[in-house]
Symmetry: C2
Subunit: 288 residues, 2 copies
């Protein structure tokens, strides 16, 4: 890393930063609830928030979600429904449950309240480290990036927001051409960072990211993501998931090192630690 560059880390355990639940409760305290599909953080956040507000909650998760995430969601009192590990099954299962139980659907990214909640990460980060010149943040459907970009740019217009993605998401091309170039139906990319495996940015998130984030996107391979995770485990003593590993990989990348030397203070968002500790990516798994 450039010797003139300093890094600050903001670790947010899970995005329990959801606005608007109280509003839902006021609408109809009996039947209104949260249903979501999520690979982890959002599901846990909703489960926690629903419990806090005394609302029932049903979280939809792909069948191959790490047990630790499912247990955490159940631990916060929510029902968990499994779907097939593809975006279409996820959307269908979610719609079926919403219709059957008369639940309100709260997406993990494409929802302005959710983005606003996630934006509080940037508020806290800039409060703690006001001299930040840039923030590196991983994108799944782009809600967290949107919230962070809106909040950070509002407080400090000159700050740069860099998106980190898994290989195959192809966001840089979309941003440079200003278009959604992704194939339909929505797909997952093949990455070990399962928290950010959805390929497309959300319909609400994309224009925000397009207008506020930098066009240079940090694309990370599985090997780089694992290196980032190892670095956090070994030197920072923090258990992080692949999506966070991707951001550390970006922080350690040649691309960042070669960037403008005026980017002196770089903020790194560690977006979660939902890794299955029985499946650490650099170690073999115990035989069943």
């Amino acid at each position: 890393m450039s010797e003139s560059r300093e890094f600050a880390v903001m670790s947010h355990e899970s995005d329990i930063r959801l606005a608007g639940l109280e509003t839902h409760r006021n609408f109809d305290p009996v039947c209104v609830c949260q249903t979501t599909h999520s690979s982890g953080n959002h599901g846990q956040a909703l489960a926690w928030a629903a419990q806090h507000c005394g609302l029932p909650c049903n979280v939809i998760v792909p069948r191959n979600t790490p047990t630790v995430k499912i247990d955490a969601i159940k631990g916060y009192g929510a029902d968990v429904t499994l779907c097939e590990p593809n975006p279409t099954s996820r959307a269908e299962t979610c719609a079926a449950i919403c219709s059957e139980k008369n639940y309100v659907y709260i997406p993990s990214a494409d929802h302005y309240d959710v983005m606003a909640g996630q934006g509080t990460i940037a508020l806290e980060f800039l409060e703690q480290v006001p001299m930040l010149d840039a923030i590196l943040v991983a994108a799944s459907a782009g809600g967290m990036v949107s919230g962070i970009a809106c909040a950070a740019k509002q407080l400090k217009p000159e700050i740069k927001i860099f998106v980190v993605e898994p290989f195959g998401k192809d966001l840089e091309r979309c941003l440079r051409e200003g278009k959604r170039l992704w194939p339909e139906p929505p797909q997952y990319v093949d990455t070990i960072a399962e928290g950010i495996r959805i390929q497309q940015l959300g319909k609400l998130a994309f224009p925000i990211v397009l207008s506020l984030a930098e066009k240079e996107v940090f694309t990370t391979t599985n090997a780089q993501i694992v290196e980032g995770m190892r670095f956090a485990f070994e030197r920072m003593k923090v258990v992080i998931e692949g999506a966070s590993g991707a951001v550390i990989a970006a922080a350690m990348s040649k691309r960042l090192r070669r960037m403008d030397g005026r980017l002196r203070h770089v903020g790194v968002i560690l977006c979660g630690g939902n890794v299955d500790i029985d499946h650490i990516p650099w170690l073999p798994t115990r035989e069943a």
Copy 2:
């Protein structure tokens, strides 16, 4: 755990809390230096402090010390010398290097300045969580326990200091009889918590621990230590070493649960994260 009991955690990355280095420098800036044998924290702390003071440093570590600890020590600029993994070889190698290089020997526990430095953990902890009723802390040669007990009891005489040990250390019997009952020469106990494998408390530490710590010692097996480590990795997202896992195991133990209900606020010292991330104890190791 008892529902009426709350836990606070103090995580100290490594005991870079060493007093007295400046004093050594003033004696003789050319030849005075630090030599120590240590399984990790103390070696890193000395290496860091020596570099900070511009002094050469030689750290003696047992041959089976995890690579991550050795790399960290070298990373702080110290020379590393390997010894056989037993206390006698450790002491002999250390004495030889001290004599050959004219270095000052700074033990990892039996040294009042080191204890004083480690006692600052308790100062910080009680500053952050003044309502602590008890502190759980792991003992190797007892320096950290001594420092923490002195500082904590000075600030809050009614606080209870409970020692956590690996199975085989037999400290409770020594404390109850008020005698050093350990066999000579000093031995290592068979534990996965290699940071606390030395059986005997130091000559200076023992009387302090005897007079200030509780007689009830929390003895932990390997299985309990691993469970404690897993809990930290999975739910706290912190990478900890076996010695810290032992303390979490004590915090989760039946023995603590059955103790006086007036112990409401229990402080847990996580003394380090020097675990070899290629050898996580609940996972198989990759074939070479």
